[in-house]
Symmetry: C2
């Protein structure tokens, strides 16, 4: 493998870990837990893994020699920087307990467990991947572990390889399923523990006990780097408004963090748009107002951050899409026969008056896309809408109207960008390298302590790594019941941006100033070396949440 100079230099980085897990540890059990809501339902579904205590690891007596153990690890879902460090942490952890322990990696995500595709992760392999980005060490996948047949197939291979514990590295759904699996194996007395690790660049897997999901730190730093560069370009060329869409469909944490780091002129937060019941026109008018105010000061340039999921947060659009899906499903056969050029007319005629009006008000490219392109389940494909372009076009239209009325005096030229894939596989920042490696080490400790149905937890993360708190959280404690595909399911609550939380409140207190002034901050690229205040900084979100 041909490697870059940075890859070579970074390979020897030794991640920092909590002082409490350097050397011998002891496990301290706290009080029994309850799920965050729907306690009776969750308890019924998880009779064996409900109510377990939060545990912490503290410095302990000299380590007693542990038995060798075989462990399996799975990467689940979208890539996030640091996954390889979780795996190297697990590897070093189980090897420290007993050098004869083995780590197996299931290939291509959860399907590797079901289909019995795996490799043994030896130290040669692990050493190639320390502190690197990507999930390419064993690959990832989106198969959901939900069915008993899958669990049983998994158990087969565990028995064959003498695997006593599986660690699933994933987001909220994957961790929910890890707990279902833990419960199933425990109920069956199968002798296979299951531990989860909190991963997602979206930042929406967090709660009182899980301060942050890994990858969020690195990914938002990459996005903030390029946003800062674009801001500096905007402020140098002084002729473009840059509309920048950022990954994150369910929550706007990524966009909020990038805004806190770069102080752009406009930032849209999906959760606020929804809470305030804003229309698409409200959003467009807000942006146009900022553009007009800056133009009045002679500033015909700016930056706008848009979360990928914005469109789905707008209540009116959500209703439109819902009616569209229902209407098209009900009239599928007839609609399929309508000629392509008549489909939009058909849609307009078959929608309620209110939604028909909204549909007609959308730019043609969007209404066409909504009418014509549907996913394999027959649903309209909201994710294909290029929201950043849509907004730029609608703002341009509004400003053109205002210009005629003398309400806007200036120029409005745009560029648009979408950042997502650029950040998901970056080499982990020092924070993510340390955090992930620690999560892996802690997962190994949870296994050695015989735990199952727990998520590996490292807290106090705004402090230096030595002061971090290591432990495990029962996954059931994070659950509630939610409707999914029409059925009530136990799931880990997704953490949306809290409008009364520190990060949003700080942003809201500053945004009017950032809108009109050119208050850009240029974070620059992630530094792996150099002064600690540069190289070891956590996210603004974490700092403001724990102020």
């Amino acid at each position: 493998m041909n490697k870059s100079a940075l890859q070579v230099a970074r390979a020897s980085y030794q991640p920092k870990v909590p002082a409490s897990i350097c050397g011998a540890t002891k496990i301290v059990e706290g009080k029994a837990t309850e799920s965050v809501a729907d306690q009776a339902d969750i308890k019924k579904l998880f009779p064996n893994t409900y109510g377990m205590p939060i545990v912490t690891f503290e410095k302990g007596e000299a380590a007693k020699s542990a038995e060798a153990i075989n462990v399996g690890v799975i990467l689940s879902g979208g890539q996030a920087p640091g996954g390889h460090n979780v795996i190297s942490g697990i590897f070093d952890g189980i090897k420290a307990q007993n050098p004869n322990s083995k780590l197996y990696g299931f290939l291509g995500g959860p399907s590797g467990l079901v289909d019995h595709k795996y490799i043994e992760l030896t130290s040669d392999i692990i050493d190639e991947y320390r502190n690197t980005g990507g999930f390419d060490i064993i690959g990832s996948g989106r198969t959901k572990l939900e069915e008993v047949e899958q669990f049983d197939k998994g158990l087969e291979i565990c028995k064959k390889l003498n695997i006593k514990a599986i660690i699933i590295i994933g987001g909220d759904d994957s961790n929910t399923n890890a707990c279902v699996l833990a419960e199933y194996y425990l109920a069956k007395n199968a002798g296979v523990q299951v531990i989860g690790c909190p991963k997602t660049i979206d930042g929406d897997l967090k709660n009182e006990m899980i301060e942050t999901s890994f990858g969020f730190d690195t990914a938002t730093k990459v996005y903030s780097e390029v946003i800062g560069n674009i801001e500096r370009d905007a402020n140098s060329a002084k002729k473009y408004w840059h509309f920048i869409k950022l990954m994150g469909r369910s929550a706007s944490h990524v966009t909020l963090e990038a805004a806190l780091q770069t102080q752009p002129n406009v930032t849209l937060i999906g959760e606020e748009v929804e809470a305030k019941n804003q229309t698409l026109d409200d959003v467009v008018t807000y942006i146009a107002n900022v553009v007009a105010k800056r133009a009045a000061k002679g500033l015909n340039f700016g930056t706008v951050l848009v979360p990928e999921g914005l469109i789905e947060f707008i209540p009116a659009i959500k209703k439109l899409i819902s009616e569209l899906n229902d209407m098209l499903a009900a009239n599928q056969a007839e609609f399929d026969k309508v000629a392509a050029e008549d489909k939009i007319d058909y849609v307009v005629k078959h929608l309620s008056a209110e939604n028909a009006a909204l549909f007609k008000s959308l730019p043609t490219a969007v209404s066409t896309q909504l009418a014509l392109e549907r996913d394999p389940h027959g649903n309209v494909q909201v994710s294909l809408i290029e929201t950043e372009q849509l907004l730029a076009e609608m703002v341009a239209k509004k400003l053109a109207a205002w210009k005629k009325d003398g309400k806007f005096v200036g120029k409005f030229a745009t560029q648009h960008h979408f950042f997502g894939y650029e950040g998901r596989c970056a080499a982990p920042s020092n924070f993510d390298a340390d955090y992930c490696y620690s999560l892996g080490r802690v997962a190994a400790l949870l296994i050695a302590s015989g735990k199952t149905g727990y998520m590996s937890s490292v807290r106090n993360t705004t402090k230096p790594a030595a002061e971090w708190l290591a432990g495990g959280i029962p996954i059931t404690a994070m659950m509630n019941m939610e409707k999914r595909n029409g059925k009530m399911k136990p799931v880990i609550q997704k953490a949306l941006v809290k409008l009364d939380g520190g990060p949003f409140k700080f942003f809201a207190s500053k945004r009017d100033e950032w809108a009109i002034e050119t208050a850009y901050v240029y974070p620059g690229p992630i530094q792996y070396f150099g002064p600690s205040e540069v190289a070891d900084q956590t996210t603004k979100t974490l700092q403001l949440e724990h102020k």
Copy 2:
């Protein structure tokens, strides 16, 4: 100004300079020069600045005290990382000669000189901008200094501010114009010297004496960072082909450098497409073949790098566009009356058979765009074509046909990206910070030596900065005559990718391997601190050119 931790830490970086210009220097004059071609014509146009010698600066006797001098500086054209360091180098240079010297910055590009918009750059201002990206210290602009009236207006403000020298930081055209200005002022005995500095991220201002233009190093490192991240994502998710377009319309240096750094599966080089007289279908077939070969190995993912100017390099498309422009100009009045939905038909009927066939073969989005959108001069807007999407669509079409014939067995899903604004204003890498600051220091020395019509030159740049060679190159020596807008003009030869040059030959020797294997390299983000082999690396292009 709210600053990031990196901005703060980076402010105190002391750029490295050639040892020869630390302390006292002496100027050494070489032999008289000739222009690279059309010597008689160039000599006639530049009677006073033609044939001057190349000069170098060497360690000299103790500095004699110099008179204070007022200098003006102009940023011209597109942003490039390091412009602020050229300016701080000039500032430190003239202040070292005499603390009473003053530096004026003309605002918003060359128009600042003509319109008398300027500020004095004091040490407070300079210190805010050391080692930062962007051109925001004084702004840039695209006004061309070509007319005598502009030169005379410029002279007025120089007289008023007692400015004895102007430094123009720009690309090939701006440096050509700097020389025209130098010639004019010299002929007029105006007492104002003019010095140029080689800037452009495109990398197309270089020759025997100018090894590289500044900004190329930093910009290509930013693009390579995100391309590497995308490659790692492709290799982890294993489900997308990423089509990545990179800035650079006239030359493909940026794309070639990014390819050398990241080893993607497909890289298109405009100069090669033109030299081999390839058609759009040739290009599409080449990509489709690589996709099919990888698919045969079970690898349904990859990365394709496309230079922004690709379309204009394809000889057949060039001809089509040329005929389109002529035909539409000739039939403008009639064409304007044609209904929008009939314009494409109109175009097809009025083109030659060959070009009509090519036009019809283009995806509808592209043909529509070519027929409907024209720039203020009435020309079709090639730059609006989203080449990366166009190629992805055409490859998909071809693969679908091959699938029916059994020639392709696999999946082909795509994502597309365009990187340009992300890199033009990044904080300069150590190389660009050093190189630019040195260029500024050398420009100050050229002024102190009474030179005009020279470009600041720093060579031997693949060696440590202490060993760099400082000097000045007569701008006329880089010129030849070229047709511009129908007239023969003296211009600096634009440096295109040389198909017999080291960088391209190395790439060509490797590309078949990179196409089929997954040989990705992940350069990671620019490091300003850390080991020298990481933080002080030059571009692969420079290394291969000077091997």
